[in-house]
């Protein structure tokens, strides 16, 4: 899903939800699965669209987004993709900052 499609969907979602979360990769260091600007929309019911790279990192962001949708508070998530001996899954090795924004109301 490219940037335009994400924002078109976000606009459509603003007509059916009170609140919607948008997670954006705002900074990357080292090797990461997606580039700066990659996005995922998270609906209040937990459905999501787009990807910020999949795997554990994305699951972590999804969890934070669900909490943010509850509280109405945006949050900045640091996703560590450095190798984890126990998990053995985060093979990219980089770190990415993901801004989870909550779109709601007139002032958003």
């Amino acid at each position: 899903m490219n940037n335009k499609k994400i924002f078109k969907r976000l606009y459509e979602m603003s007509t059916v939800h009170n609140r919607i979360a948008l997670a954006t990769v705002v900074k990357t260091r080292g090797s990461t699965p997606r580039e700066r600007g990659a996005k995922m929309i998270i609906h209040p019911d937990g459905k999501f669209e787009g990807t910020i790279g999949g795997g554990c990192g994305e699951a972590e962001v999804w969890q934070k987004a669900m909490e943010a949708l509850d509280s109405g508070q945006h949050t900045l998530v640091k996703v560590e993709l450095t190798e984890d001996a126990e998990m053995g899954e985060k093979i990219c090795g980089g770190v990415m900052d993901v801004f989870v924004d909550i779109w709601q109301g007139e002032n958003s």
């Binding site: 335009k4 606009y11 939800h17 705002v26 900074k27 801004f99 779109w103 109301g105 007139e106 002032n107």
Partner: protein, 261 residues
């Protein structure tokens, strides 16, 4: 009511619909005590119109300028900004009043104009669409340049090739793919001044036949600089044989030019 109205989102949505570029600026972190708060947004379109506010008029107008800069650079970016450094009244402390913003570029799509609506144009229009191009198909035959054959195309034009390039809006975000049924047609298209503005020009054909076209153009005074810009034989060399494979190699070349220049 299960909905909300965001002026920022409305501006972004209408810009996308009108094929315009727009930048969304979002405050993503601040030093403690800064008057601007995290999550504030401002959208700016390519004409400099804005929606939303970061809560400070002076700051807003500076950010509008930065958003226009971002459009020129063609890349999303995060920036640090120092806001009203003398207003805190806490001289002697180490308070920095920094604001970090993410400037997100939502770009108007590039256009791929496919001249020649034959068998390669079919997969080419589809693959081009998938990778994010606005697709325009041009042919002088009505039964080839038809909606039935190109359901995904954004625009289909039945035009004589000799006038076609002048009638289309060709600019630095336009990619020209010449795959007409004969080199005579390709050459006629290339003779239009409008082609010079394109980001990419590719022409199909064997080396020998392509060389004949280039020689003919050169003889008529076209600059070597322009001729060197024509990618021919078209496409990256992956040993393509089928129309689908050839279309894929053309799209790969177009992406290479778009992303790496």
């Amino acid at each position: 009511m299960r909905s909300f109205k965001s002026p920022v989102l409305s501006l972004i949505n209408s810009s996308i619909d009108e094929g315009k570029t727009v930048v969304l600026a979002t405050v993503i972190s601040t030093d403690p005590g800064v008057s601007v708060s995290v999550g504030k947004k401002l959208a700016v379109d390519q004409e400099g119109r804005s929606a939303g506010s970061l809560g400070d008029e002076d700051f807003d107008s500076e950010v509008v300028e930065m958003c226009l800069e971002t459009m020129k650079k063609g890349e999303s970016t995060s920036i640090h900004f120092t806001i009203n450094p003398h207003a805190s009244g806490q001289s002697g402390t180490h308070q920095k009043n920094r604001v970090e913003m993410f400037l997100d570029l939502i770009e108007a799509p590039p256009t791929m104009i496919i001249f020649g609506a034959g068998h390669i144009a079919l997969p080419l229009s589809r693959i081009g669409k998938i990778v994010g191009f606005r697709i325009v198909v041009v042919d002088d035959r009505e039964d080839f340049a038809s909606r039935d054959r190109f359901p995904e195309a954004d625009d289909i034009k039945v035009l004589d090739f000799d006038k076609s390039a002048d009638l289309l809006n060709i600019d630095s975000t336009t990619y020209l793919v010449l795959i007409t049924r004969g080199h005579k047609h390709d050459e006629i298209i290339l003779r239009s001044k409008a082609c010079e503005k394109a980001a990419y020009i590719g022409m199909i054909g064997s080396k020998r036949r392509a060389a004949a076209v280039l020689t003919s153009l050169k003889r008529d005074g076209f600059s070597q600089k322009f001729l060197d810009r024509i990618h021919t034989p078209i496409g990256v060399r992956i040993g393509s044989q089928t129309p689908e494979e050839i279309a894929l190699s053309i799209v790969a070349e177009v992406i290479k030019v778009r992303r790496t220049g």
